[in-house]
Symmetry: C2
Subunit: 181 residues, 2 copies
């Protein structure tokens, strides 16, 4: 099997299958660069977001276009946590992500200018794909540290068994039969 | 002066003014997280893109939502160069960016799966802000190495004197009077 069929709304894609270990292959979901798939997922994901949401929060890079598309559907502001420091940040919040592998850490950054706008706001955490949930749990910590209230986690796809409760549009397999190309 | 007024289409924003050196302050344009401004810029930028364009090409992160929005307006595919290697890349093209400061380099990555789709295609390079033009010149090199044809450079904003010919919606100042906060 070299592709995996996916249908979301009226959009159909043949996802490439990639080998992630000698014995394991998974379909690769990539919405970046695909505005039709992004919009189809955003249509479905927007329906899951609680009505009381005042702000959406996601992380670069793959979440950006989806964040934009869901934000415009719900007419809500969205914020994007960064994975690297930018020179213009002012009093940024810095949050470690605990990786699956002991000792491996990513870092999330939220410019203080944006953190200020989260104070007292009801925030829905948005993702394109959730695997372990560790990045999204760190996004929630950023919201809370900024003074916002986390309503929940909302993702286009789940591919794994996240440690957080995620509302999602579509579940992708984590093990495919057959041999990838 | 602590903000700089910007109007694009029907959208008005007060851009924060940031100090970039002891004697120089500039307005900070940030479209990431602002779907209304992104869409307003995309409306104008889409008008500048040549009709013969078959594909759009931009770079993460700030170009992603604009790429999505212009792509959907023109019903064109878009591709996104990455600034870091991803584990699932297959035969990626790697392109150095020559920075303004001697010896400082960024690196752009294009997954081989996406590079294949540029072969023989007429490509317009898309940016949110062009300053020196070095990143966009490297995007053009990636297109050519992948076998595509570069039609030109198209940007929401220009803020500086790029070394490449850029078609843009709005020019931002590189030096503001007064004292930033």
């Amino acid at each position: 099997m070299d592709t995996f069929p996916l249908t979301v709304g009226s959009v159909t894609r043949a996802l490439p299958v990639v080998r992630v270990s000698p014995t394991r292959s998974i379909p690769l979901i990539e919405m970046l660069g695909d505005f039709e798939l992004t919009n189809a997922v955003a249509d479905e994901l927007a329906k899951l977001i609680p009505l009381e949401t005042e702000m959406l929060f996601t992380v670069e890079t793959s979440g950006v276009a989806l964040g934009h598309a869901v934000a415009e559907r719900l007419n809500l502001p969205y914020k994007v946590a960064r994975r690297h420091r930018r020179s213009y940040f002012k009093n940024p919040l810095i949050q470690e992500v605990e990786g699956m592998t002991l000792g491996v850490h990513d870092t999330l950054w939220l410019d203080g200018r944006h953190a200020e706008q989260l104070v007292g706001k009801r925030v829905s955490i948005l993702a394109d794909v959730v695997v372990s949930g560790s990045t999204n749990a760190s996004l929630a910590k950023l919201v809370e540290r900024a003074g916002g209230i986390v309503l929940g986690y909302y993702s286009g796809f789940v591919q794994g068994e996240p440690t957080i409760p995620v509302n999602y549009v579509y579940r992708l397999p984590t093990q495919l039969e057959g041999t990838p190309v």
